[in-house]
């Protein structure tokens, strides 16, 4: 190799060394290389040089980084307030964002626990004319789909049930599922032990078998593998345990035990919509294809079974959309968007702090530059400093997130789907690391930019004050952005808080105070109808006379609580047209005579159920005021005939007030009530109004039930207020979280305003001093500073309000009783934030007003 080429290669290779090192020693090293080229054998020289180069350049880099790190730590330690503020600010940003990301990750990003989940669909029956979007399917319809549809690899179904587990230990009532034999293979989950159900076990007289959930297996049977093959007593009869299912089998939700779904078409009614249908699409079949195929089948069935199927069609959605409804996704997206502003705000603040510091250090920088330090080296120092801050902030943030996630999990586990899956894992930590790095880079750039343009002479001459117009502009823009973010968050939080408040004050239609509810399911085998009726009559009789209880009743379901929510269509007597359009869908309940008195639901007309309604005579019904108006207008309906879609006739004995049945944010729905215990549902809810704390009545209730049947469990024992709180928990969570974020952002913004103004006052000390020396009042100087700060604040407020207005559609869907562009909210929030900004301006302004002109001028 010619010497010239070798030297050129060597020169190129020297770029491996840190810049400063190369600048210092490159000529020497090249001269040395040239000398060795002349004196030594190239074949030996090159390998030696290359090896040396790799080792020593790496060493130089490490050494330099280590030095930079030491230097950075020393500088940070020397400014403890600044460092603590920066690290805490970053920790807040990283922690808040990571915590919410852990929720987004668990709920929206983690795949469902089934292989190829995209091919799994949930199928509902719909009746658009009656405004029914998602309804359960009837067993005969499901069987017809199964026979006719070619687009599914498997189509299965499940229904809810409840079983009383007796035998060893306390009697316990278990949430259960009746599943088709193909549900487990369809989901492609493997039993942990044993097997899935067999098709022959679906038959009406198939073997009596059961599958336990992992949870129940561990809780009740101490994870004993020998339980498989043994029999346990369910609803008073023995069933053989054939398998243990993993946690992924969540159908129906929270079920702990499963039995085969018995399909007996001879006993099923096509109009009885009771089961949930799920399916796995055949490979290559799209959702749209499957949907249109099944819709065509449903349309044909309307012709074949006009009596039950007219007006009914189908709808399907991917599993994911079913399990995580759009409402939840919107709420999470809003939250995540909001919380993403927090690290941004933190970032802006730290950049601001660093910037102010870089300016105050510009003299030091200039001196170092003058002494021969390269700009590159100084930039490296600054970057190291901001990286150290970012890393420390990231670690503190991850710790914060770890605690926050534990709190969030508790808060959210019940109120959002997959809430129990929330945890800190590798993706979540990677996310925290990612945002720390991004924020570190973002806020590190500002002072870097400044250093790159530092004017040496200017900095040395000015005694450290180098406030140029551009930099001033940059800092001000940062503060405006902070205030704008805080404004947006505060408006969002305020809207959600109002929405939550409205929910709490929503007219329920009953009085929830001091009500205790508990569910009982009497096994039909042990309690045929008459026996069950006697059981409930005796229970209510005992409770009514118990101390501390003012009223007691039973119902097939209580508002907001557990129970049966199905609706039925009622026919308006004013039309002879029997089309579905003239039907009114109404919720129905079976209630005992004292239900309305216990719940404090007002009787509007007629009478409540009495003993005369319990026999076989007549068909009494009570309806809600809303249903009465829908069907009969303003006429007096007491004593009138009432006809259900299924052609059954009743006589209206009374009209009662409207009640919010399903949710606080849903208007009361039309309702009809049938007398109990003449009619009973397998699961009934006992409601009692206590004279004191309703939860104290729980022991009493348990003892009364035990006196009647020691093997009969009660479950879901809750106060009515607890049911209502659960219903409002999502709204409360949203409001709470956004309020926390808004407060954090507001604190950050206030610190931002304060920082920038303080800095500005320091920079202008001599100018302000001269003003005072020339006769300006302290108040004039203060006004000058206040004006500077408030101008920024007002611009920020305006930008934030515009931003909130632009984003109003996003938040609208989760609001109740308040509009996303509510002017009152906007004005109140902006006014409050203006006051906070004014307070943040006061200290620097006060300081400016107290500048001693002599002292200020002497500093020149």
């Amino acid at each position: 190799m010619p010497a010239r080429v070798s030297e050129r290669i060597y020169r190129l290779l020297l770029h491996c060394y840190p810049h400063d090192f190369r600048v210092e020693y490159q000529p020497e090293m090249i001269a040395l290389f040239r000398r060795r080229m002349r004196d030594e054998n190239t074949a030996v020289l090159w390998p030696e040089t290359a090896a040396g180069l790799v080792c020593t350049s790496l060493k130089e880099h490490l050494r330099m980084s280590f030095q930079d790190l030491k230097y950075a730590l020393r500088m940070l330690r020397r400014a403890p307030v600044f460092s603590a503020a920066a690290v805490l600010t970053l920790a807040l940003g990283v922690g808040a964002n990571t915590a919410i990301f852990s929720v987004v990750n668990a709920v929206m990003l983690q795949p469902l626990p089934f292989p190829e989940p995209a091919r799994l669909v949930r199928i509902w029956e719909t009746n658009p004319k009656r405004n029914i979007q998602s309804f359960s399917a009837s067993v005969p319809n499901f069987v017809s789909w199964k026979e006719q549809a070619r687009c599914f690899e498997e189509i299965g179904a499940f229904g809810g049930a409840s079983l009383n587990l007796t035998g060893d230990g306390e009697p316990e009532r278990l949430l259960a599922g009746a599943i088709a034999a193909n549900v487990i293979p369809l989901l492609r989950i493997k039993p942990m032990l044993g097997r899935a159900f067999l098709p022959e076990e679906e038959r009406p007289n198939g073997a009596r078998v059961t599958i336990l959930s992992e949870r129940l297996w561990r809780r009740r049977f101490a994870a004993d593998p020998a339980i498989v093959g043994r029999s346990i007593e369910l609803n008073g009869a023995l069933r053989q345990v054939v398998g243990i299912a993993p946690a992924a089998l969540q159908f129906p939700e929270n079920a702990e035990i499963w039995v085969p779904m018995r399909i007996d078409l001879a006993r099923e009614n096509r109009g009885n919509h009771v089961i949930s249908v799920i399916a796995r699409l055949r490979d290559g079949v799209t959702l749209a294809q499957a949907d249109s195929q099944l819709k065509a089948i449903a349309a044909a069935m309307e012709q074949t079974y006009p009596g039950s199927n007219v007006g009914w069609s189908v709808r399907m959605a991917p599993f994911y959309d079913w399990i995580v409804p759009e409402r939840i996704r919107t709420a999470l997206t809003v939250l995540f968007g909001a919380v993403s502003l927090v690290p941004l705000t933190a970032c802006v603040n730290v950049a601001n702090l660093l910037l102010a510091r870089a300016v105050s250090r510009s003299r030091e920088t200039a001196v170092r530059l003058a002494m021969g330090a390269s700009r590159r080296r100084i930039a490296r120092h600054l970057l190291t400093e901001s990286s150290v801050l970012a890393v420390l902030g990231g670690i503190a943030g991850a710790l914060l997130a770890y605690w926050a996630v534990a709190g969030l999990k508790q808060l959210l586990a019940d109120s959002i789907p997959r809430g129990t899956e929330i945890h800190v894992d590798a993706p979540v930590l990677a996310f925290a690391l990612g945002i720390s790095i991004v924020t570190g880079l973002l806020f590190g750039i500002a002072p870097l930019h400044q250093t790159a343009h530092a004017n040496l002479n200017h900095a040395l001459k000015e005694g450290g004050r180098t406030s140029t117009a551009t930099r001033q502009w940059m800092r001000q823009a940062l503060v405006v952005a902070e205030i704008a973010m805080a404004t947006m968050l505060a408006i969002g939080a305020s809207l959600l808080a109002q929405s939550f408040g409205r929910l709490q004050n929503a007219q329920l239609g009953f009085q929830p105070e001091r009500l205790l509810t508990a569910q009982i399911s009497l096994p039909p085998a042990k309690y045929p109808h008459a026996a069950a009726a006697t059981f409930y009559e005796r229970l209510l009789e005992q409770l009514r006379h118990a101390p501390g209880v003012s009223d007691a009743a039973i119902s097939s379901g209580v508002p907001m609580g557990a129970g049966d929510y199905t609706g039925m269509a009622a026919r308006s007597p004013r039309t002879t047209d029997s089309t579905a359009a003239e039907m009114t869908q109404a919720d129905w309940r079976m209630v005992s005579a004292d239900y309305f008195k216990t719940m404090r639901i007002p009787l509007l007309r007629g009478r409540v159920f009495g003993p005369e309604d319990q026999g076989e005579n007549g068909s009494p019904i009570m309806i809600s005021g809303l249903l009465a108006r829908r069907l009969y207008g303003d006429e007096n309906v007491v004593g009138r005939d009432f006809e259900l879609e299924i052609k059954e006739h009743f006589t209206i004995v009374g009209v009662v007030g409207d009640v919010r049945m399903n949710s606080l944010n849903q208007e009361p729905s039309p309702a009809m009530y049938f007398p109990a215990p003449r009619g009973l549902w397998p699961n009934m809810t006992v409601v009692l109004r206590a004279q004191g704390d309703p939860l104290h009545a729980e022991a009493l209730l348990r003892s009364k039930v035990r006196e009647l049947d020691a093997r009969q469990p009660i479950y879901n024992v809750r106060s009515m207020e607890n049911w209502i709180a659960r219903d409002g928990s999502e709204a409360r969570t949203n409001a709470l979280l956004l309020t926390i974020f808004a407060l954090v952002a507001l604190a950050l913004a206030a610190v931002g305003v304060y920082g920038v103004l303080s800095y500005s006052v320091t920079q202008r000390t001599s100018e302000l001093g001269i003003r005072i020396a020339l006769g300006a009042h302290a108040w004039d100087v203060m006004r000058l500073v206040l004006r500077e700060g408030m101008l920024l604040a007002l611009v920020g407020l305006a930008v934030g309000a515009l931003g909130a207005f632009a984003l109003r559609r996003t938040i609208e869907t989760i609001l109740f009783g308040v509009h996303a562009d509510d002017p009152g909210t906007f004005v109140t929030v902006m006014f409050t934030l203006a006051i906070v900004s004014l307070l943040a301006c006061t200290v620097p302004a006060w300081r400016a007003g107290r500048i001693d002109p002599l002292l200020a001028l002497r500093q020149e």
Binding site: G52, L53, E60
Partner: protein
């Protein structure tokens, strides 16, 4: 600003890295430039220790920072050509450090000798 300590204790630098001690020895009696140092070390060790350019200048950089050696004004290398070279010489602090290191090594050697680990000279 980085401040140099007034008069550091030479003991605090011990043990000196091999390259540093060799460079100090090479500069003991005369000022040398980089290549000359490298050659001197190679000659003295019979070619066993050949400092690479990176090791050499890395060590020189650190020794300058620690005040063990100092630079003398650049001048041409009379022996070879008229290219201007940087020359280095030992400072008094460097001399103290080298002596301390020598004493440390000598102590170590006498221990080794006492237990018979040192080969007898021929």
């Amino acid at each position: 600003m980085l401040k140099k300590p007034a008069e550091p204790d030479p003991q605090s630098l011990l043990p000196l890295p091999v390259a540093v001690f060799h460079i100090l020895v090479a500069l003991a009696d005369e000022e040398r430039h980089g290549y000359a140092i490298m050659q001197d070390v190679a000659d003295r060790t019979g070619g066993q220790l050949k400092l690479s350019a990176g090791t050499l200048y890395g060590a020189i950089k650190r020794m300058l920072e620690d005040g063990l050696i100092e630079e003398t004004p650049e001048r041409p290398d009379a022996e070879y050509d008229d290219e201007r070279r940087r020359y280095y010489r030992v400072t008094s602090f460097g001399r103290k450090a080298a002596m301390a290191e020598a004493a440390r090594l000598s102590q170590l050697l006498s221990r080794a000798k006492a237990i018979g680990w040192l080969p007898k000279r021929g």
